[in-house]
């Protein structure tokens, strides 16, 4: 096949699809990576926060529709309430399931996290429904996008835009604010940070809150793209996002973004050029391959263990 015969349009379509998927992964992966960076814990229940965010948005938009609100105002309000609730759930989660286990063996908080994940999934299933629910398409189709809608449509533009803005905001927060400095200090050395007067418990809570807000944004965005949700969406998305975080080097914020994009693009290309039946096999195969050669992930630094 010569260079010109190559179907560039098809490639572009897959690329755009992968980019959108990857940016959602990245949004969720940030939550994993931030928490891991600070307390070396895989917050297995993070995917569930994303799912709860989407559900809360659904409830809010359902109620608002009935009270006669319309279009964009519903979207904004639903997203804000979803973020508040996700933050509240993230905060409570840390207080109940992780804080009592600080200082316990490494496996304990991880198992507690798996338990929490199962609990939250089933809590939503029992309080709502095991069926899929329709999620209203809150983002309108912009008329000016129509000519290129088959490549990238308005929902996807909103997803990409939101992701970029969120990333910039997060970078600012971590680099230039007081909270961000405290977070970085705690990440480097918790004991030392405590000594210089940083309330590490508060910093950890803050990390959970920020990570959960990001997950809720991801949840609302993906739900309005797929137009349906159920209680299991958090599990697969969580596993993928976690894979992305590990791929990029867990604990590393640019790494999570890179990992998300790499994973999204790999899946999209594998599905487009080979077969979507093996999409997940490629995703995890890539993970194993990269970890074999770079055990700390793409951007992660190999940490020398001190004895």
């Amino acid at each position: 096949m010569s260079f010109l015969d190559f179907d560039w349009e098809y490639f572009l379509l897959l690329f755009a699809g992968g980019l959108v998927k990857g940016s959602i992964y990245a949004l969720i992966a940030l939550g994993y990576t931030m928490v891991y960076g600070i307390i070396q814990l895989i917050n297995f229940a993070h995917g569930e926060i994303y799912m709860i965010g989407a559900f809360v948005a659904l409830m809010v938009s359902g109620v608002l529709t009935i009270y006669g609100f319309s279009g964009v105002s519903i979207l904004v309000l639903a997203a804000i309430v979803a973020m508040i609730y996700a933050a509240a759930y993230g905060f409570t989660l840390e207080r109940i399931a992780y804080r009592p286990l600080r200082g316990a063996p490494r496996l304990s908080p991880l198992i507690s996290a798996i338990g929490m994940s199962l609990f939250l999934q089933n809590y939503v299933m029992l309080s709502q429904t095991p069926d899929f629910l329709r999620f209203p398409s809150l983002i309108p189709d912009f008329a000016f996008m129509e000519p290129i809608a088959h490549i990238i449509n308005s929902v996807e533009v909103v997803i990409l835009g939101t992701t970029v803005i969120t990333m910039l905001g997060l970078t600012y927060l971590i680099k230039f604010t007081k909270v961000g400095k405290a977070m970085r200090a705690t990440q480097q050395d918790m004991t030392m940070a405590r000594l210089v007067g940083i309330n590490s418990d508060r910093v950890i809570s803050m990390t959970f809150v920020i990570g959960s807000v990001l997950a809720a944004i991801g949840g609302v965005l993906i739900a309005s793209r797929l137009e349906q949700i159920n209680f299991m969406i958090g599990f697969l998305a969580g596993v993928k996002a976690f894979t992305a975080a590990v791929l990029g080097g867990i604990g590393n914020i640019p790494g999570a973004v890179l990992g998300g994009l790499v994973l999204g693009l790999t899946e999209s290309m594998a599905a487009g050029y080979i077969s979507s039946a093996y999409e997940d096999v490629f995703a995890f195969g890539l993970l194993v391959l990269i970890l074999t050669f770079r055990p700390a992930g793409l951007l992660g630094k190999a940490v020398k263990q001190k004895v």
Partner: protein, 469 residues
């Protein structure tokens, strides 16, 4: 003290009500634009949240102040009955039971009378038993168990009783009960196998069920295609399981704890996908059917006999697993695993071959999963990928965790509870994952050592005679 406890509980209940409001109270139908407000749930959340917080606070306080169980409680000796009562009321378990009783009594307007009466009765009975034990029996029971411990006969007697119960079981109940017991025992073996990897060597494996699938499909394929006998496939399943264990262990040797978790999870998912997608070989979701039951020198058996026969096979396998795991635990390699679990760097510095130790932990775990997978396929006579999902891996993991990591007896009890409870309580089947999830969290916080704590080997120097306890 009491006032602040109650204030905290009220705040917790209100916070919980806020958290659960959108999901417990609101229910929308976006197609017809209907909203259902389930206010009654709010009452439930407030009420239950208040008591849950009380219980939590009591347990948490207790966890902080006192780590061990209430062994011989010296504070009770030589006190009058009234004083003993006062002391007993401070016991966390008594307090928790009191709260439970109060909770059920208060449920009166919310539940049916029948349910209310029964729940109150049971809570009251348990509370009374606990109090009676505290007030009158503590010393007597303690001395009784001390006699049991010291008597040289108690162990053989215990084993004999257990042995008779195990042998008598399939003849005393119908084949349905035997059948589910077989499944439960299969999970006992799985739990014991994963216990080697997770409990002893401290390598978290979230895709353990893949090795189980390897064993099951080994027998399923070899039997249906080549007519290979169960007895040939049984060791073969174990060996192929081991092979995959080593194969998957190799690329992840360099990874540390958390990376390991996600990679093994990935392996589990890849295995499931391959089984589902590669339909030419594995027949996809339709699965493999008409697998032969295990034979016994060509004897013809009807369904009930075959079930009983399979039961004894699994019992033998369980005994074998217990024996081997027990011996392994005390062996050189077992010590190496435990050392690795405690501190990898120190362990390697002491000259333990990390690669070999880790690989052998995977291999041993996978061996048991593969072996019991063959029995699983033979028992069901049909297999499909639905039996090998992440949820099954999570079940096995929670068996190990609930049983107390590294503890063999605990794993057996946990496996039986996990597998038999949903069979007998089909009505509450929907809630089992909710409860398991919560139990996993609570267990980690309040009883990290599991149902039955693993007795760590300790050495005491007592004069000239060293003694293990």
């Amino acid at each position: 003290m009491i006032a602040s406890t109650i204030r905290k509980a009220v705040i917790a209940a209100l916070w919980l009500a806020f958290l659960t409001f959108p999901l417990m109270v609101v229910k929308v139908n976006t197609l017809k634009d209907l909203v259902e407000w389930r206010w009654i749930n709010l009452a439930w959340v407030l009420y239950s949240g208040f008591f849950a917080s009380l219980v939590w606070q009591v347990l948490y306080q207790y966890r902080k102040t006192k780590k061990a169980d209430d062994e011989d409680d010296p504070s009770l000796q030589g006190l009058s009955l009234g004083d003993r009562l006062m002391v007993s009321l401070k016991d966390p378990y008594v307090l928790v039971l009191l709260f439970a009783l109060a909770y059920f009594v208060g449920l009166y307007p919310l539940v049916s009378f029948e349910f209310w009466r029964w729940s109150c009765k049971i809570a009251l009975a348990v509370l009374a038993a606990k109090l009676a034990y505290k007030l009158f029996l503590v010393k007597k029971v303690r001395s009784c168990s001390a006699v049991m411990k010291e008597s040289p006969l108690s162990k053989p007697i215990l084993f004999a009783v257990l042995g008779i119960a195990v042998i008598y079981f399939p003849f005393s109940v119908d084949s349905y009960q035997v059948n589910i017991m077989v499944l439960a025992l299969i999970y006992v073996v799985l739990g014991l196998g994963l216990n080697i990897t997770v409990g002893l060597a401290g390598l978290l494996d979230l895709g353990y069920i893949a090795f189980f699938a390897v064993g099951a499909y080994t027998y399923g394929l070899l039997n249906t295609h080549f007519g290979l006998d169960f007895w040939i496939c049984l060791p073969l399943g174990g060996l192929i399981g081991t092979f995959f264990g080593v194969l998957l262990g190799l690329p992840i040797l360099r990874l540390r704890g958390d990376y390991l978790a996600i990679v093994t999870l990935g392996f589990g998912m890849i295995a499931h996908q391959v089984l589902t997608n590669w339909t030419d070989v594995f027949k996809g979701n339709l699965g493999i059917h008409k697998i032969e039951r295990p034979g016994f020198f060509g004897m013809e058996m009807d369904l009930a006999q075959a079930t009983t026969y399979t039961y004894f096979l699994v019992v033998l396998l369980v005994i074998g697993t217990i024996f081997v795991t027990n011996r392994l635990k005390d062996s050189r390699i077992g010590r190496a695993w435990m050392a690795l679990r405690e501190d990898e760097i120190a362990c390697v510095a002491m000259g333990i071959d990390m690669a070999r130790t880790k690989l052998s932990a995977y291999a041993f775990g996978a061996f048991w999963a593969g072996t019991v997978g063959v029995i699983f396929a033979a028992r069901n006579t049909s297999i499909n990928p639905n039996s090998f999902t992440f949820l099954e891996s999570a079940i096995v993991l929670s068996i190990v965790v609930l049983g107390g990591m590294g503890s063999i007896f605990g794993v057996i009890i946990a496996a039986l509870v996990m597998m038999l409870m949903p069979e007998y309580l089909r009505d509450i089947g929907e809630y089992r994952w909710l409860v398991f999830g919560a139990v996993m969290v609570l267990m980690m916080i309040f009883r990290p050592q599991g149902l039955i704590a693993n007795q760590r080997r300790t050495y005491k120097y007592e004069g000239a005679k060293g003694e293990e306890s």
